[in-house]
């Protein structure tokens, strides 16, 4: 894809607004590594507000193209929220009925956003986490396989391909040979798989780092602790170079710092990813290697506005 010359453009559908997200230099947050460039790719600039727009749109349009998804089928999937918002917005744009299975403790903001687009939500047990939602959607689809299109973002090759053909190309267009490191969180693993595969094809080496919670019991919503989880079908550890483990506290602290110092109010998973990127940059600086580190910021912090104030009660 050619780099666009301007962000101001007229489009025939909101679906055409996905991608070409800004890459912003983090000078203040990364001040401890002045010889290294650190960039955040702001995926919250997608129309659905998260990186998941890319995968959801590609999974839907490819299925519409080859007939797996038709107007008389219901798109159903399990999602902790952002993919659900993305299915919902493009469901409305493309005329597709959408049902989502999610643990009932998903943040209220995302349930409300999905429902605003006409999506129906089916709740799974919050104690079972996202794996419980996966098991539940599989049961529903097994009962009426003809009724549903089940994209299964954890196993669908179009999830990583959205990044292989999109995100990674945009990063190379913007930074070219300067990029030395790429850092992304691991949820479905689509972002790290697709970007790493494309960046590894680049003429110069790019070290690709997956960020994972340090502990199975964590508060980095959207990220997966692989050793204790159902491993996604699309995941292949050989595709990336390193796993970086971040504690919930470090992720949350960085999310707070980014808001104050960089005017970026991001989600906790973004805090964890940027924390890892800055730690990598500090190491490069200490070793006098220089470098250019790109961190994927999956979404904005307002998706997680606290249950403390207006979500006093969860619906169980």
């Amino acid at each position: 894809m050619l780099p666009r010359l301007t962000r101001s453009r007229s489009l025939s559908s909101i679906a055409d607004a996905v991608g070409q997200t800004p890459l912003v230099r983090l000078d203040r947050a990364a001040r401890a590594a002045p010889s290294v460039e650190v960039y955040a790719k702001l995926e919250f600039a997608n129309p659905g507000g998260s990186v998941k727009d890319r995968a959801a749109l590609r999974m839907m349009t490819r299925a519409l193209d080859d007939g797996r998804l038709t107007s008389d089928k219901i798109l159903i999937d399990s999602t902790s929220g952002n993919t659900g918002v993305a299915y919902s917005i493009f469901g409305a744009a493309l005329g597709v009925r959408v049902q989502l299975v999610m643990p009932s403790n998903v943040s209220k903001a995302r349930k409300d956003i999905a429902q605003a687009f006409g999506t129906e939500i089916i709740y799974s047990d919050p104690m079972e986490g996202s794996d419980g939602a996966i098991r539940k959607v599989r049961e529903i689809v097994a009962q009426h396989p003809d009724r549903y299109f089940y994209p299964d973002q954890y196993s669908n090759p179009d999830n990583p391909l959205a990044h292989y053909h999109g995100t990674a190309v945009e990063i190379l267009d913007a930074l070219g040979d300067r990029i030395t490191h790429f850092v992304a969180g691991l949820g479905t693993s689509g972002t790290i798989m697709g970007n790493a595969r494309r960046l590894h094809e680049h003429t110069r080496p790019v070290r690709c780092v997956a960020v994972e919670p340090a502990d199975a019991f964590h508060g980095l919503e959207g990220l997966k602790h692989l050793p204790s989880s159902l491993v996604p079908g699309i995941h292949d550890a050989a595709a990336y170079d390193e796993t970086f483990r971040v504690t919930t506290e470090d992720g949350w602290d960085m999310a707070d710092l980014l808001a104050r110092e960089e005017a970026l109010h991001v989600g906790h998973s973004a805090g964890a990813v940027v924390h890892a990127a800055i730690e990598i940059a500090k190491k490069l600086h200490a070793e006098q290697q220089g470098g250019c580190v790109v961190a994927i910021v999956p979404d904005r912090g307002d998706r997680y506005f606290a249950p403390m104030k207006w979500e006093k009660r969860y619906l169980w």
Binding site: K52, S78, T79, S80, G81, N82, T83, P103, N105, V106, P126, M127, E128, G129, S130, D131, G132, Q153, Y154, G187, T188, P213, D215, A216, F217, H218, G219, L220, E221, G222, L223, K224, H225, S228, S229, P232, T248, W252, H268, P307, M308, K312, R313, Y314, W316
Partner: protein, 91 residues
């Protein structure tokens, strides 16, 4: 002392030999957690830090977040259910 049930989320079941629900005794949520620690060593540190309940963890007494009750000092009565609610992982 009252006997309550505590729902254990998947990531902490390695500490409870796989049990998804255990019984415990105490008069407050704090006492219940201390009593759990005596039988399932390590569980207290997963739930609490020096300031109280770790900020990303929600502990529910019946269907109310204890932050909106008296926190760790919230009184429990026989038969109450305490739920430890985990974060949401992936996708």
């Amino acid at each position: 002392m009252h006997t309550v049930t505590v729902r254990i989320p998947t990531p902490l079941r390695t500490l409870t030999a796989g049990a998804d629900e255990v019984t415990a005794t105490g008069t407050t949520v704090r006492e219940v957690i201390v009593e759990l620690e005596s039988r399932f060593p390590g569980i207290k540190d997963r739930l609490l830090d020096e300031k109280g309940v770790r900020r990303f963890i929600n502990v529910y007494l019946a269907d109310e977040d204890i932050r909106f009750l008296d926190g760790l000092d919230s009184a429990v009565k026989a038969g109450d259910q305490i739920s430890i609610v985990p974060a949401i992982a992936g996708g």
